[in-house]
Symmetry: C2
Subunit: 153 residues, 2 copies
């Protein structure tokens, strides 16, 4: 599962995480190499699935998505059928940015981004009508202090 990455790969990945819009020559210069090895390594890192995708990060505020909720879910039904249904629901809803299965008392945590409390309630109503949950609580985000997609290498 874990893939062998050397120091040059790490530097390249760091640069790509920082800014994926840079030219190969620019990256090559920064990591102390030339464009060919940088290009070959990026291709291999893609093929190996280390680089999943290339994307743009948008500002939620500027797009009117003012509210961020962390939803803590407990279920009474731990069978695979329930799990599959829950997974499908969560994947189908674009306001769910993240979904994690947890260890411990709380079974799932969702990160949900919506325009406002009303929009969250609409999501909440839709969710509980589609899958049965034993207990559900939401933590309301007030301010995003940090939001970094970069992984530490």
């Amino acid at each position: 599962m874990t893939i062998r990455i050397d120091d040059l790969d790490r530097k390249i990945l760091d640069e790509l995480q920082r800014d994926a819009g840079q030219s190969l020559d620019e990256i090559a210069r920064k990591v102390g190499s030339s464009k060919t090895p940088v290009w070959n390594r990026i291709r291999k890192l893609r093929e190996a699935g280390v680089i999943l995708r290339q994307t743009v990060i948008l500002d939620p505020q500027k797009l009117g998505l003012e509210a961020c909720f962390f939803v803590l879910i407990r279920t009474a039904e731990h069978d695979p059928d329930w799990q599959r249904r829950f997974l499908e629901t969560v994947k189908a809803r674009p306001e769910v940015q993240e979904a994690h299965r947890l260890a411990g008392e709380i079974d799932y945590l969702l990160k949900v981004r919506v325009a406002n409390a009303r929009a969250y309630d609409a999501f909440y109503q839709a969710l509980i009508s589609e899958v049965k949950v034993y207990n559900i609580t939401a933590l309301l985000g007030m301010e995003e202090i940090k939001n970094d997609t970069s992984l530490p290498l």
Copy 2:
């Protein structure tokens, strides 16, 4: 704060969120326009801060970052000085991917990505030595069901 976005902008942003590595001609074709308006609009969306940055998304598993913790923090000190110190600490630590200030009983939520439980403990020890917290709990992520950076437009 909120910026006026029309339907063509929305389509362009959707395509960029899906894959920022596409050529302008490709995006133009998909959104039913030509490269010039697409280019002009992307430039404006950048300048307006709607597009914050362009990056690559990496697979944490493949890089040996197997553990994801959600850290719930309560503080006894609500003065600006404590807040500033906490903010600095959180921003300085690359294992903290996200930090949110919350409404309600819990004051902060962190998303922390590390190699294993031992690495989390190292982070935890460092954190509580740098800033005083009243209460701290961690939820341990077992499986990432969904992790989407795209905002719903």
